[in-house]
């Protein structure tokens, strides 16, 4: 028993050191964001800040109009994408999970099969298409592809949830005089709240992080989202000091990190569900 306890202590220290190293990049970005410019650009660099300041955060919200624009773009695109995916996948999930129709299985296999296709294969045609019809540099130009890329995940999760509901519930509701659509909206969708939450998390995390489509389709700076715009500012503005970049990074990830720590089981389960299946 003593041996086992000693072994656990060693393992604990090993894992603990690794965990500290793992936290370091985020902690370091945070420390960068609360330092003064002189402190940051002094050689040699120091681990511990000499003077703390919130000046970087004030600056990015008051002096940099572009940054607020990115926040707005990211919020609009992410929230719209999530809402459309939720509604569409709840509708499709019901059709595939509780209805029977010809070609059902093949159709479902095709829709879910696209999950294995690398995103780069969509990018060029979508770029050309959006260029021709003028969807580039609009919110919808990002929302539509994001919905399409997340819908198969949502559909997979929602079909699974709907197919566990006993058909009796549906039939009882229809005998009571509900139309099919009323029954779906008032009875079936509320039952599937956990699956909707998982779909929300997968889609939200995707849309909040996405870089390749956003950087390609949004060719004008004022339409870019946070992950793209911050990189653009870092590359284009020679005068931009690292403290401000750090502040922008922290503002982008902190709300999500807080949500993650509060709803950690939800996040881990939801995200894992989305990434495993298929």
């Amino acid at each position: 028993m003593k041996m086992v306890r000693r072994r656990e202590k060693i393992l604990f220290i090993f894992v603990g050191v690794f965990a500290i190293l793992f936290l370091f990049p985020v902690v370091w970005m945070f420390l960068t964001s609360i330092r003064t410019t002189q402190d940051l650009y002094k050689y040699p660099p120091t681990l511990i800040p000499h003077a703390l300041t919130l000046e970087n955060f004030v600056y990015i919200f008051t002096e940099m109009g572009g940054f607020i624009r990115y926040v707005v773009n990211s919020l609009v695109v992410t929230i719209s994408t999530v809402l459309i995916v939720l509604v569409s996948s709840a509708m499709g999930g019901y059709a595939f999970g509780m209805r029977k129709f010809r070609g059902q299985n093949i159709m479902f296999m095709l829709v879910v099969g696209v999950l294995t296709i690398p995103y780069i294969m969509y990018l060029i045609p979508i770029f050309l298409m959006e260029y021709e019809i003028g969807l580039q540099n609009t919110w919808l130009g990002l929302i539509f592809p994001y919905v399409a890329l997340n819908l198969p995940w949502g559909l997979l999760i929602m079909r699974g949830a709907f197919s566990t509901i006993p058909l009796d519930i549906r039939d009882a509701a229809i005998i009571d005089g509900c139309t099919e659509i009323q029954m779906w909206r008032r009875i079936l969708v509320p039952i599937n709240r956990p699956a909707l939450a998982a779909t929300t998390i997968i889609t939200f995390v995707f849309a909040w992080q996405e870089y390749m489509f956003a950087s390609t389709l949004m060719t004008k700076n004022e339409w870019q989202t946070l992950p793209v715009g911050i990189v653009w500012l870092r590359d284009e503005l020679q005068t931009l000091v690292m403290g401000r970049v750090g502040a922008m990074v922290i503002v982008t990830i902190l709300p999500v990190l807080i949500l993650f720590f509060i709803f950690r089981d939800f996040f881990i389960e939801g995200l894992s569900e989305g990434m495993l299946k298929g």
């Binding site: 985020v26 569409s88 919905v147 659509i181």
Partner: protein, 301 residues
């Protein structure tokens, strides 16, 4: 039930209503693009000079595979990246999962810490690592100097010899949490009594891992392995944000080359060829991994 008469018009309309949004998005933004880029890959299509694609069949593919030096470089870099990333990500998440699983306390906390980078946007991971590993003001080189290891400091992303491996490091940090969770789930399914009986028989920790834990973990290793493998071949954001494929073309990956062909040179045909070839490579390796790790259900008993 009688109420849902199968073929009434109303019933069909309802079904169409429920399927409509899915079909709309999938057809326009998924099916059409995949087919269209397949067609583009069989054409010569310079979007800047000539707005109409010219059909050339598989000649483009042959030219690409045989003669395109940048494609060869990108393929080579991609394979080097994939091997390094696969080995490191697989080994680290497996070892960490086994260790975390042995702990009595703190399992939840460690799980959250290791999973946390999964929700940091990849491009911001790029900015963060570029800053930490920057040559003069970067804290990593500074720590090395403090530890008396000044001679191994590098311009990590600026030198061809270290750039690719430094990208592997950043990606491992970002992605490892997911496989850790998969492996932990598998480990928790291995019964305590199985391990205890091995311990009673005199097995040490190492033997216990090799003979009890790893064989039982095989299906989870397959899932985790496939996931790491697929991710090891889709590398775009980090080289784009940190190195732009440089220095020289030391970090030019297949995804990045396809993107540069399409959106810097507007050679849409060639770019689609690279995209399709990448997809074939991914499918091929997934198939290989499936063969290696096929769960041997018949072997037991």
């Amino acid at each position: 039930m009688k109420q849902l008469t199968k073929n009434s018009l109303r019933d069909r309309l309802n079904l169409a209503f429920f399927l409509f949004p899915t079909m709309l998005f999938v057809v326009i933004f998924i099916a059409f693009p995949v087919i269209f880029s397949g067609y583009l890959s069989l054409t010569e299509f310079n979007y800047a000079s000539d707005p109409a694609p010219k059909f050339i069949g598989i000649k483009g593919y042959i030219d690409m595979v045989r003669n395109d030096i940048f494609f060869h470089t990108a393929l080579y870099n991609q394979m080097r990246f994939a091997v390094a990333y696969f080995l490191i990500a697989f080994a680290v998440s497996l070892v960490l999962a086994i260790f975390v699983n042995e702990l009595q306390r703190g399992v939840q906390v460690f799980q959250v810490i290791f999973y946390m980078p999964m929700i940091v946007p990849m491009s911001l991971v790029g900015i963060t690592f570029a800053w930490i590993l920057s040559p003069d003001l970067g804290i990593f080189n500074h720590m090395l100097r403090l530890l008396g290891l000044g001679h191994i400091t590098h311009d990590w992303y600026g030198e061809p010899s270290t750039a690719l491996n430094s990208l592997v490091l950043a990606r491992t940090w970002k992605m490892i949490g997911f496989t850790l969770i998969i492996f932990l789930a598998g480990l928790q399914g291995i019964s305590k009594s199985l391990k205890e009986s091995a311990r009673v028989d005199g097995a040490n920790f190492f033997q216990e891992i090799v003979f009890i834990v790893l064989p039982n973990l095989k299906p989870y290793m397959l899932i985790g392995g496939i996931w790491i493998l697929i991710n090891s071949l889709k590398v775009f954001v980090l080289p784009q944000v940190i190195t732009q494929g440089g220095p020289g073309s030391a970090t030019l990956t297949l995804y990045l080359y396809s993107w540069k062909l399409a959106f810097e040179r507007l050679h849409m045909g060639e770019a689609s060829q690279v995209a399709y070839l990448t997809a074939f490579i991914i499918l091929f390796f997934t198939w290989i991994l499936n063969l290696i790790f096929k769960p041997e259900t018949a072997q037991k008993g």
